[in-house]
């Protein structure tokens, strides 16, 4: 079963501010800079507004659009409530994002449709949040079922769709859908398929597997199987975190070195905090720079030993930054990411060392943040920047 909260951020905002009800509004960044739409109400969608659209454009096509500033902490709390409802039905939950999950309910005796209805009702009762559900024998088809159900519901209300694909019907259900709805088919793959006269998933399913392998290599096998509605991936309870990253698109291009380096520090602080929250260490540190002309550079380095120390991550990030960035050049986006994650296993020292002290310091900082919120404490360097901004 795939479950997806309908226009999640907007639904939460409507609960907090009832005056928004049925109005076209969007949650996202401010229109004067480079803000984009994170989520928009169904009323706004009927004007053609969609998520990831620049807020400026959204306002052009829908001038009465109300722009709401996002409140991540509020959404996080609402999401937790929803997931605790889901946990009452099964422990087999794979959370994909803040508002999306797979559930494995194959052990439950109830009829799928009734069960889906029951879950939808319980979520509505306890959180007043609408959701759509797709039920199928595997993750791929369930997810597409949700998407199809949602798309079928037109109008300015929440879809609250439930779509059940009975066993054996997977291929038939997919056959008439456009190939783009399959996982792993992006614009490039779709373009290649189109050139070969393949538009629907059914046409893809009829295409001999060897042809697909010729076109796409290994991915061809997956495509052929997916087109038939075959997907054997299990619902994984704890999705392994593979990488953690943070990035920021500046309101306007930045060329000031001090500002950039402080931003880098801030990003590293966030990444390292998440790393510690997940109780992980990283070996690979990556930075991402996007220039005003949208060309993007990635630079990464792998350490001999895993670390969760902010100072080490920052030192590497800064070195990488210095290698990529020429003083005076303007930057549109700056990002920091870590990967090659592992459990935090490290050799203890006989003598108290820098790294030991840093672990103690960061442990204390994390406790403060857990209690009083993330902004309670920052590095001196970063506070400076905040003051300048005021």
């Amino acid at each position: 079963m795939h479950i997806d909260l309908d226009a999640f951020f907007c639904a939460v905002e409507e609960l907090r501010r009832p005056y928004l009800k049925s109005k076209p509004f969007a949650v996202g960044g401010p229109p004067k800079g480079r803000g984009v739409v994170n989520s928009c109400s169904y009323a706004a969608r009927s004007f053609g507004v969609h998520s990831a659209m620049p807020m400026k454009r959204a306002l052009k096509i829908c001038p009465q659009l109300i722009v709401v500033k996002p409140e991540p902490r509020v959404y996080q709390r609402a999401s937790q409530k929803v997931f605790s409802v889901l946990a009452d039905f099964t422990p087999l939950i794979e959370q994909i994002s803040i508002d999306e999950a797979f559930l494995d309910l194959s052990d439950l005796p109830e009829d799928e449709f009734a069960l889906a209805r029951q879950i939808q009702e319980r979520i509505w009762l306890e959180t007043k949040l609408p959701c759509s559900i797709g039920v199928a024998t595997n993750k791929l088809v369930a997810k597409i079922a949700t998407d199809v159900g949602k798309a079928a519901s037109k109008g300015s209300n929440y879809p609250r769709a439930i779509t059940v694909i009975p066993p054996g019907q997977e291929a038939a259900f997919l056959a008439d859908l456009p190939v783009r709805m399959l996982w792993g088919v992006g614009p490039k793959t779709a373009a290649v398929l189109k050139r070969h006269g393949i538009h629907t998933i059914g046409e893809l399913a009829n295409c001999p597997q060897c042809e697909l392998v010729k076109l796409f290599g290994k991915m061809g096998y997956d495509l052929a199987r997916h087109a038939l509605g075959i997907d054997e991936r299990p619902v994984v309870q704890e999705r392994l975190v593979k990488s953690i990253s943070q990035e920021v698109t500046f309101e306007e291009d930045i060329r000031d070195e001090t500002y950039l380096r402080r931003t880098l520090r801030e990003l590293v602080e966030k990444v390292a905090y998440r790393l510690r929250q997940e109780k992980l260490c990283c070996r690979t540190i990556r930075i991402k720079l996007r220039w005003p002309d949208f060309t993007t550079h990635l630079h990464q380095r792998t350490l001999p030993n895993p670390t969760d120390e902010e100072s080490i991550i920052f030192q590497i990030a800064e070195e990488l930054f210095s290698q990529l960035w020429q003083p005076g050049s303007a930057i549109r986006l700056l990002g920091v990411g870590v990967s090659s994650l592992s459990l935090p296993v490290y050799q203890l020292n006989l003598w108290q060392t820098e790294s030991f002290r840093e672990h103690q310091l960061l442990g204390a900082i994390d406790k403060l943040r857990e209690r009083y919120g993330k902004s309670v404490i920052h590095r001196g360097l970063i506070i400076d920047k905040k003051h300048e901004g005021v």
């Binding site: 109780k279 459990l343 050799q347 203890l348 006989l350």
Partner: protein, 375 residues
């Protein structure tokens, strides 16, 4: 210079000194080996200015002289020569050494021996006599625990303290400490303390011939040098300056649990665990399980996300409460490889305090290892 030497002895001598050659130095003569007649023998010397090695081999000398020749060229050549007499003939005016052996005849261009840095000389009467076999074992048990981190030069050294009738070697890389004591054959008039590069001691252990009984160690005061003198060889090294960390303060005075195992069984289990653990930070867990009625055991497990999982258990006599403690398996393996007694004792307090490993029934050697932290 006109000299005849046996090819085998010459090749052996060159292999001894070659480890002190520094091929990429800005000073070209340091890539050379000094070949000189010295009091009826042929002397070979090499130095990298930190460490110097000299050895003497028996030779038929018809004319005195000295030259330096590129170490690599000379030893590669000698290694290829037949096992016969090698005739060395120096043309002093062109600094060219003619090497003749069997049907082979080679000229090697050299650098004037005057340019070779002077090697430190020890006054033999000042030295501390050391038993060669004993001292080699001490080095093997201690030097591996020194650091290889260039950023902390003092930890790249081995602290040697000699006072009264006892000599002690100690090394640490910040994660483990190895300490070995031994008795001296005669009491020292003045105590000696010096930090000797671990590399120099390892070279010494390599070149000290097993057949020899005694070598002398001199630490001439105020020169910052140590010289080990043997019958046919000499090794000198600069000492490392600085304060060696106070390792004695780190060694726990008491332990809660004492676990005795067969050295060979424990070592074998560690070697097996390392095959899995080397892909995952080298971490192994020791689960020390005292037995109520039956004998106790130690379970050794290693897990790596990519490679797999391994479990081994070793029978043990355990005195004290059980404990799960994680170690770098390489550290365990390295110390177990140098323990000579049939049984070994592992002493522990907690999973975040150092564990001590020592040979059962031998109070002269202790090895302390800090555990690994598991998230």
């Amino acid at each position: 210079m006109k000299v005849s030497v046996s090819q085998q002895q010459l090749a052996h001598g060159l292999s001894m000194v070659s480890r002190a050659v520094s091929p990429r130095s800005t000073l070209p003569v340091l890539a050379n080996v000094l070949v000189a007649t010295d009091d009826g023998r042929l002397r070979l010397s090499a130095t990298n200015l930190e460490m110097g090695i000299t050895c003497w081999i028996g030779a038929q000398i018809t004319e005195q002289g000295a030259i330096t020749v590129p170490a690599r060229t000379f030893s590669d050549l000698v290694n290829q020569l037949p096992n016969e007499l090698v005739h060395l003939d120096l043309n002093a005016s062109t600094h060219t050494l003619n090497v003749r052996c069997g049907m082979s005849n080679t000229d090697i261009k050299g650098i004037d021996a005057q340019e070779f840095p002077p090697m430190p000389v020890a006054a033999p009467q000042e030295g501390v006599p050391l038993n060669v076999a004993n001292f080699k074992e001490m080095i093997q048990q201690v030097a591996f625990a020194a650091s290889t981190d260039e950023a902390r030069p003092i930890l790249q050294g081995v602290l040697m303290t000699a006072a009264d009738s006892e000599v002690t070697l100690a090394a640490t890389d910040g994660f483990r400490i190895s300490v070995r004591k031994a008795a001296l054959s005669e009491p020292l008039p003045v105590p000696i303390q010096a930090v000797i590069p671990a590399r120099a001691l390892q070279e010494l252990a390599r070149i000290a011939a097993d057949g020899e009984q005694v070598m002398t160690m001199s630490v001439p005061s105020g020169r910052g040098q140590v010289i080990f003198h043997m019958k046919d060889a000499e090794l000198s090294s600069l000492l490392i300056e600085g304060n060696f960390p106070d390792y004695k303060a780190i060694i726990p005075r008491s332990f809660k649990t004492s676990t005795t195992m067969t050295t060979a069984a424990f070592l074998k289990a560690c070697r097996q665990a390392e095959i899995i653990a080397r892909d995952g930070n080298y971490v192994v867990r020791l689960n020390i399980l005292p037995g109520e009625t039956e004998p106790g055991k130690v379970e050794i497990t290693a897990q790596s996300e990519e490679t797999g999982f391994s479990e081994n258990s070793v029978e043990a006599a355990i005195d004290g409460p059980g404990l799960v403690i994680a170690f770098n398996v390489r550290f365990l393996r390295e110390v177990l490889e140098v323990i000579k007694t049939p049984s070994v004792v592992l002493q522990t307090n907690a999973n975040n305090t150092p564990g001590m490993i020592k040979p059962a029934g031998d109070e002269n050697y202790i090895h302390l290892i800090m555990p690994m932290h598991l998230g």
